[in-house]
């Protein structure tokens, strides 16, 4: 009586391979989860960084078009207190209703509640939240006609010089 045995893995081999696959799956899974988490985190950081860059560009545009005071300097006042900054400036704007040029007061706020830009004009008052994330802000005069604004959050610090 002859016996024929097909070639196959032994039970031990199967168990070892299953155990190795299990370890690999666990390792890969944690890596993928970490990667997705990091990806989302980086995405949010990048979005916030872009948000801040846009805000600084917008502030620069406001400062560039600010009206002047009798001493010939731009009509800008700023207040800083405990990582909060408030900027008041007067500028000209084109009314969305009448398309006429008119004077407006623009107020920028950088504080725990984020960044807001308010416009007060004869046509009405508007307030826009440009960022709702907490930001620490510092402002200082670095020259007769230059100010420096530094914005810090938990991930990065961004600063910009503004010519007055």
């Amino acid at each position: 009586m002859s016996s024929y045995r097909k070639p196959a893995f032994t039970l031990i081999e199967l168990l070892v391979s299953l155990a190795l696959s299990g370890v690999l799956i666990v390792l890969l899974n944690s890596q993928i989860t970490n990667s997705i988490f990091t990806d989302v985190k980086i995405k949010k950081q990048n979005e916030y960084r872009l948000e801040i860059e846009s805000v600084l560009e917008q502030l620069n545009a406001d400062i560039l078009s600010a009206s002047h005071q009798p001493n010939g300097q731009k009509s800008i006042k700023f207040y800083a207190l405990e990582n909060k900054v408030r900027l008041h400036l007067k500028r000209f704007g084109i009314s969305p209703n009448t398309q006429q040029l008119h004077g407006v007061e623009v107020i920028w706020k950088f504080d725990n509640s984020g960044i807001t830009r308010s416009i007060n004009s004869a046509e009405g008052n508007y307030r826009r939240i440009l960022s709702s994330k907490q930001v620490n802000a510092e402002i200082e005069r670095v020259g007769e006609k230059v100010i420096k604004l530094v914005l810090t959050n938990q991930h990065f610090t961004k600063s910009k010089l503004f010519a007055l």
């Binding site: 990806d39 980086i42 995405k43 990048n46 872009l50 860059e53 846009s54 560009e57 620069n60 545009a61 009206s67 002047h68 005071q69 009798p70 001493n71 010939g72 300097q73 009509s75 007067k90 000209f92 006429q100 040029l101 008119h102 004077g103 004869a122």
Partner: protein, 248 residues
Amino acid sequence: MNGFTYIRHHTNLLKQSENSVIISAQQEKFELLPFENSIPVQPDVSAQFVTLSGVYNLSFLKARDVHNANYIIEEQIPIVRRLLSLCANKPELTEPIVEYLKLAGDVEIGFGLIDFLNELSVPLDTGVEVLPCLRILPRSYKLDLALASDITLQAYFDLSASQARLLGRYLADGTIPNHAAVMSFLAKHHKGKDFSASLRNTAISARLDHKAMVLNFKGETFAYLDNVLNREGNWIKNRNFFLWTPVN
């Protein structure tokens, strides 16, 4: 993917910055035109020169006393009221103007009438109406009677329209060449009134010390470039306004 989006946004922001640099460079080119006394070479851009030495200077309203404190020269208030009436039919603007100047520091180069009216929250359409009649500069910039309009003469010396026209003609043709001749002309129309204080703010020289250039693109005004002659005799920028900037 995120990296790509970030780079794309960042490139867009860089493009924005680049555009603002191009606009600034274009504005600087336009700002040089009045100094070069040249006309714009860009197609569709035209320039119009405006003489401002014959326009009333709002700094005449105020002076400093011996204690270096601001005070308003009361005799000048009716002049401003008459100018605002004749130019823009807005005599009620006189009080806010006077109140602001009472509190403000000395007026220096770099402060334009449009800035001033913005400080008072006056709508710009009113501002445009008063531009030919009022300016704001340091007090040393006198009212040049030889370059003044009939309306300015009428308001400044409280004359009738026909008397102001006559005075303007005499100043232009040299019949009235100096302050003494102006005084004798005014004595005929205002018996017993002393104009010597008012005349201290004036000159009869026809020497330009304040001019502006209005730039238009396809007939639409986009810039107002205001320049003054400084003490050293050089033309310098006073205050330039760009509503927008045409870029090539």
